[in-house]
């Protein structure tokens, strides 16, 4: 297991070499890894045992009692040998009391009933208990639609309430962190958030105060749930107690279209679901990938999508600041580029671009003169946090290296070339020229500046609008050498286009058509010449990505 993040526990994953045991689940004998808990074991056979407090990656506390099941062990004879029934399978001695599935480990010959009348009765009872003091504010609750209380009451609850007492009142709308609001009346005391903060985020900041029915989730006065993983508590909260300030009251979850993609906030490449509606992204949530991020992502990455919808987005091609159209812009650029020698041209690309874009860009560079055309990307360095966040804040540095676009040291040469005038044509892809250390003055001296990106570059002669990470498809290689797919969740605004299309068309305009019509074809062309991608296709990359051998990435 090469998971980038260290989970405190992995109850749902059996280590290699775990022996299998025979277990009877609802009358059927199956084989499951010895020692796995019953909730996780049953799930392998599509038996869903409802639960609130149990979480496969956190310590087991067994407090919600929703996963009560019936359990038995083999009847033994005088010689401690199992007594076999007519079918040759062990006879089971059922325990009179229900047991919690989350804390019960499977063993040889165990019997489990997940749907018996007693089990149903237990669930009904627990559901009633959970609801008696729970506010009935579902219509305005953000969790509505993905609330486990709603979900299980539908399946295991009863329609009429027998509870006619006054409900326990608790604090509402508590501001417990920069990004989190707590409604204590909705809390069912499962303690997932407490355990997550302590066990995963190393931030022991949440706790229970008071006791009994008055138990209240809280932060200590003056302390805040502000760690960079705080929003995961919203994901794992089975009810609407913890909500994201960024998302709350913005959208009903059932309207969201969820697109599998990856986060482009750093080289970790956390797998995500992009939640969008009508061409607007409303949230990112982590998507399970044990090889990368397990079930989590950092808040920074999660909230990074907002730049997509900021007002200053470049949406039409501009020639010298005046709105134009793609064909005029590309034709003019092609014409002008022909007028420069390779040594006079430089490319500043981005390690936030996809492999397909970078690959086509290397083709364009060849058309412009090959190695003589200086080309590099801008490094972004941050601080690794030992959890998920990588020190490399570019999502595809490995791709840029592999495809020859990142050429360490060349950025300096480009800078001096631009300032001393030896470079006269500069193509900038998805980067802020200022960040690259190029002053507006030096750009203004440059004969031709082409800016492809989401934002306007005031010094550029040509500004070409491109797609954000949520608007395009492609692949990236994360810091650990894993090839992963980006998917389109929303359409790019107005005339903005994917970089790969822009680069392809520019190359075509310069007289070198390449017959690539889709991202798949771009990938195929790339796989044909880049050994690291040999035999791969985009569909083979799949939702969870594939591990490339690091040596092939570095070669």
């Amino acid at each position: 297991m090469s998971c980038a993040c260290k989970n405190p526990f992995n109850h749902d994953i059996a280590t290699e070499n775990t022996p299998m045991v025979n277990v009877q689940i609802d009358g059927e004998w199956v084989q499951v890894p010895k020692g796995m808990n019953i909730v996780a074991a049953a799930e392998r056979f599509s038996k869903f045992i409802p639960h609130y407090c149990y979480h496969p990656k956190l310590s087991v506390v067994g407090n919600c009692r929703m996963c009560l099941i019936e359990m038995g062990t083999p009847k033994m004879d005088a010689n401690r040998q199992p007594i076999l029934a007519a079918d040759g399978k062990p006879e089971i001695a059922w325990m009179p009391r229900p047991q919690i599935g989350c804390a019960t480990q499977v063993s040889e010959g165990m019997g489990i009933r997940t749907e018996s009348p007693l089990v149903q009765e237990c669930r009904k009872g627990v559901m009633e208990f959970l609801l008696i003091n729970h506010p009935l504010d579902c219509p305005i609750c953000d969790q509505a639609g993905e609330c486990k209380l709603q979900e299980y009451s539908f399946e295991h609850g009863q329609s009429n309430s027998r509870f006619i007492e006054e409900k326990v009142t608790k604090p509402k709308n508590v501001d417990i962190g920069e990004r989190i609001v707590l409604d204590d009346e909705r809390c069912i005391m499962c303690s997932r958030c407490i355990r997550f903060s302590k066990e995963f985020a190393n931030d022991d900041v949440l706790g229970f105060t008071q006791r009994g029915s008055h138990t209240t989730l809280a932060v200590y006065p003056g302390k805040r749930l502000d760690n960079n993983y705080s929003l995961n508590t919203v994901d794992i909260c089975p009810v609407g107690a913890l909500t994201s300030k960024d998302f709350r009251f913005k959208m009903r979850v059932w309207f969201l279209k969820e697109t599998k993609s990856i986060c482009t906030g750093c080289a970790t490449g956390c797998n995500v679901l992009v939640g969008s509606r009508e061409n607007e992204v409303h949230r990112l949530t982590p998507r399970e990938n044990e090889e990368v991020n397990s079930l989590w992502m950092c808040d920074q990455g999660r909230l990074g999508f907002h730049e997509i919808h900021e007002d200053n987005r470049l949406t039409t091609p501009l020639i010298n600041g005046i709105k134009s159209d793609w064909s005029s812009a590309l034709t003019q650029i092609a014409q002008q580029l022909h007028g420069f020698k390779p040594e006079q041209i430089a490319i500043i690309a981005s390690a936030r671009m996809t492999n397909e874009e970078l690959f086509l860009l290397s083709g364009l560079r060849k058309a412009l003169g090959g190695e003589a055309v200086l080309c590099d990307v801008i490094e972004r360095l941050g601080q690794a946090d030992g959890i998920l966040r990588s020190a490399d804040l570019n999502p595809n540095s490995n791709g840029a290296k592999l495809l020859g676009i990142a050429n360490p040291g060349k950025l300096n040469e480009i800078r001096s070339g631009v300032s001393n005038g030896s470079i006269q044509a500069l193509l900038i892809f998805n980067e802020n020229a200022n960040e690259a250390g190029l002053s507006i003055e030096s750009l203004k001296k440059t004969a031709l500046v082409i800016n492809v990106g989401m934002r306007l570059n005031g010094a550029a002669h040509f500004n070409l609008p491109s797609s954000s990470f949520a608007e395009k498809r492609g692949t990236m290689i994360n810091g650990k050498g894993r090839l992963q797919r980006l998917n389109r969740a929303i359409a790019a605004p107005d005339q903005a286009r994917d970089d790969w299309e822009i680069i392809r068309d520019l190359k075509a305009a310069m007289g070198g058509g390449n017959g690539i019509h889709t991202v798949e074809e771009a990938f195929k062309a790339m796989a044909a010449v880049i050994p690291a991608f040999k035999d791969l296709t985009m569909s083979k990359v799949g939702d969870l990505g594939v591990e490339l051998t690091l040596s092939s990435v570095q070669s």
Binding site: V60, V61, G62, N63, C64, R65, M66, L68, R97, P98, I100, A103, T104, Q105, E121, C122, G125, V126, E128, F129, L130, I132, N133, R162, F163, E165, E166, V168, I188, M189, F208, Q210, R211, G212, S213, H214, T215
Partner: protein, 445 residues
């Protein structure tokens, strides 16, 4: 007819001139058993305790020797801890307080012997917070024992080291639950642990093997070694050996604590002969026989049980409430429990809804709130019982109340689930008519 007490644990308690200092204890033969025990092989001590048949006096009645036997020092690389559970809080029970205040060295000696037997080097005495005086007395007792080299380093020159520290709780009934107590001793909220996997004998204090024993249980260890396990087992009845301190409170003429051989007397003898009968010439209405969580017994009830006959055969017999012998097994057979030995007596003038509302308020207050059925159900039951008591309820509420209790018992992390629902189930079932009548009328004050 007065039935004689057999005072083993309470031998010196309340006897004139007996003080709680070490000199008085030693003068009366104290610490001689420790001197003997410390020369014995630990396995010998454990086998004597096993042979004695001693069952835990805290409430569950689990055999002490078996509990100790779960800890196998030969297979253990971790330290073993012993905790004395002196968090006496089961309503109706008031024996530990007497031992702690009046004969603390008996407890300390019992603890030292038990620690020695189980190779324990560090032990804690968890005393409930409401016993500040008791804590001071025990601190002093430990100091006295240290001064006489009965505790601390190299005890009596044998090379055996043991430290005992007094640890005060702070008013939470749930700390009487042994895993809740362990969490509390670790400096946390006293949330009982899930079992499996956290059986104290395996994963107890600091995740090490741990023995948790009640005050009275530990005191018994001295007497077992004094008289030998086999002789101890002759006291009481088979499987119900030794003596039992019974605490009687409520509507009897002479409430108090009395020590008898287990099963030596019946509930009727206890109430009428020992405690002088019901106060003010009233009639008996109900008895809670083993602490407030035990199921209530109703006056006039008769029980069909299996009883061992003189010839060793089992026979079906029917007995009346007054004829129930005060032992673990018969109390269980009549549908209640001997529990902690706390007997609460209610006379005919008492309103059962009133009594149950009081009990339910206790459990709602003391629920730790960790697991769903108990957290939500205990307060719900308190609210319903209060309404019934106040006559602001209906017949349906009585049914709901019983069903809420049914939905708690057997489905919680710890036995508190049963503790809070057994009284409700038994009161409501046995006094159904009264509950239904009062529900809409209000109970008399």
């Amino acid at each position: 007819m007065a039935i004689a007490e057999t005072r083993l644990i309470f031998k010196h308690i309340d006897s004139p001139g007996y003080t709680n200092d070490i000199d008085c204890y030693i003068k009366n033969g104290g610490y001689t058993t420790l001197r003997k025990a410390i020369t014995m092989k630990t396995a010998e001590i454990i086998s004597e305790v096993k042979a004695s048949g001693l069952r835990g006096r805290g409430g569950a009645g689990f055999p002490t020797g078996v509990k100790w036997g779960f800890i196998d020092p030969s297979k253990n690389t971790k330290p073993v801890y012993l905790i004395c559970n002196a968090d006496e809080s089961e309503p109706g029970t008031f024996k530990d307080r007497q031992i702690i205040h009046k004969d603390p060295h008996q407890l300390i000696e019992g603890m030292i012997i038990s620690c020695f037997a189980n190779n324990v080097k560090l032990a804690y005495l968890y005393i409930r917070g409401e016993f500040p005086e008791g804590a001071k007395i025990l601190e002093r007792a430990c100091d006295e024992a240290r001064q006489k080299n009965l505790l601390g380093k190299n005890i009596l020159g044998t090379g055996y080291d043991l430290e005992i520290y007094i640890h005060r709780g702070a008013g939470a009934y749930i700390c009487g639950e042994e895993t809740g107590l362990i969490e509390s001793l670790e400096g946390k909220r006293a949330y009982p642990r899930i079992k499996p996997p956290y059986f104290p004998a395996v994963l107890g204090l600091y995740m090490c093997p741990t023995i948790v024993n009640n005050v009275e249980t530990l005191c018994n260890v001295i007497h077992i070694l004094q008289m030998g396990g086999a002789n101890f087992a002759k006291l009481g009845k088979p499987n119900n050996t030794g003596t039992r301190v019974l605490c009687v409170s409520g509507d009897v003429v002479k409430p108090g604590y009395y020590e008898f051989e287990v099963g030596a007397l019946t509930l009727g003898q206890l109430i009428y002969d020992v405690c002088g009968g019901i106060k003010n010439g009233k009639k008996l209405k109900a008895i809670i026989p083993g602490g407030s969580s035990a199921k209530v017994l109703k006056a006039g009830e008769r029980y069909k049980i299996k009883q061992k006959q003189a010839d060793g055969t089992m026979a079906d017999v029917e007995i009346a409430l007054e004829d129930i012998p005060m032992d673990f097994d018969t109390m269980a057979a009549v549908g209640s429990m001997a529990g902690s030995g706390g007997v609460i007596v209610m006379d005919e003038t008492r309103s059962m809804p009133d009594c149950l509302a009081n009990i339910s308020e206790f459990y709602a207050h003391e629920s730790c709130g960790q697991c769903t059925p108990c957290r939500e159900g205990s307060l719900w039951m308190k609210k319903i019982t209060s309404r019934i008591r106040d006559g602001k309820a209906s017949v349906e509420d009585v049914g709901v109340l019983k069903n809420v209790a049914d939905n708690i018992a057997g489905r919680t992390i710890c036995a508190f689930g049963e503790a809070c629902s057994w009284p409700v189930q038994s009161f409501v079932t046995k006094f159904k008519e009264e509950f239904e009548t009062v529900a809409g009328n209000g109970a008399k004050k």
